[in-house]
Amino acid sequence: MRVKHYAVWSALFVCIAASAAADDASAPGGVDQGMAMFDNGKLLATGGVSSLEGAGGGGLSTWALITGYGTRDGVGVDGHATYISLPAYSLWTEGAAVGLFDRVELSYTHLTFNTENVGAALGLGKNFEFDQDVYGAKIKLIGDAVYDQDSLLPQIAVGAQYKTTDHGNILHAVGAKSDNGTDYYIAATKLFLAESLLVDVTLRETKANQFGILGFGGDKHADYSTQVEGSAAYLFSRQFALGAEYRTKPDNLGIAKEDDAWDVFAAYFFNKHISLTAAWLDLGNIVIKDHQNGAYLSLQIGE
């Protein structure tokens, strides 16, 4: 598993280094030879950051923005690493995403959920881990969150996230119906520029228990349900935003109640290549532990 992550990050750094070199070489003429595809033409922060499941968005929620800084004439690529420290658990995610012509976004993310002492208590073993892969695709349908300041129409995108989690036998034992599932969502994102406010509302059809870490569907409820994600972020400068998110989740498993999640976050965009997001995240109950809230830290590097 680790090998795959290093490959993702290595590819990303090579990409950035190559592009930086191309920028230098072409600086006098002003024409980007070779790496013109990576036009870095979007405005700072307008690609969002990397959400938990790897899509461009906030921390918890997926937005309609296409990740990265490629305009409709270019592409953008980014990678992220995110660490969430909860009282009883920890969660790592690493992934990469590409935005194609500000229209299509493809993403891959790997989540590692560490059960720490709960793993021992449940007889799985201390630091027992669940690993999940998330493959995402998003397409922008209409609207432009930034330019369309003369209309209330948001930028609207639809997408799907195929998620597959290991330890299927354990997932079945806790009541999950499957170790894989696909979420479908529609996201509407609007920048109210005159108010320096970005707002998103996303509807998600999902069977995922705790984002899919505990499988899909359950003994209590087996089918899809519609869940809501809402975010608002206030821009204090071109580089700095403060916001909050709320996300409802299904409650499919009989063995443990699943709560909604929320966070408050601060995102700092150093430039179009590096951003850092820090949040306080509350996931509520996770299996035998209530009040799972803690720090969320995410680094995104892109080109």
Binding site: K42, D73, Y147
Partner: protein, 139 residues
């Protein structure tokens, strides 16, 4: 009660009337001279910007500076008249793309930073300019 009804009706009438030029933004940006300075600094930034400076090769920059100041003043709600062509005609044939448009935005932001316009006020101004993307970007 009747009085209140009349007041409410009057308020509704005012709200429904065509938007009168509100010069709050014009004032917040510092008035006509300050806006002319922003337009001039923005123009300097354009000419120093490798991404877009070639666009101005055949442009009379003195006239451009004057027209940009007029346009900024009008857009901000100030008592000016814009004497240039409309955005569509002015950019026809330049084959500008979104990256060019955003370069222009960044050069304007840099000028407003330099001239002390607060970020929130900058965004109020940019919000009025943003829809011009539809006319400016033809590629």
């Amino acid at each position: 009660m009747r009085k209140f009804g009349l007041a409410a009706a009057a308020a509704l009438t005012i709200a429904a009337a065509p938007a009168r030029a509100d010069d709050t933004l014009f004032q917040d940006m510092g008035g006509q001279d300050a806006i002319a300075k922003i337009a001039s600094d923005t123009t300097d930034n354009f000419l120093a910007d490798d991404r877009i400076k070639a666009t101005f090769d055949n442009t009379n920059m003195d006239r451009f500076r004057k027209l940009l100041a007029e346009q900024f003043c009008v857009v901000a709600g100030g008592p000016c008249t814009y004497t240039g062509r409309n955005m569509h005609d002015a950019h026809k044939g330049l084959h500008l793309d979104n990256a060019d448009f955003n370069a222009v935005v960044e050069d304007l932001q840099k000028a407003m930073d330099k001239d002390g316009v607060s970020f929130a006020t900058q965004n109020r101004f940019l919000a009025r300019l943003a829809p011009m993307q539809h006319d400016v970007v033809t590629k």
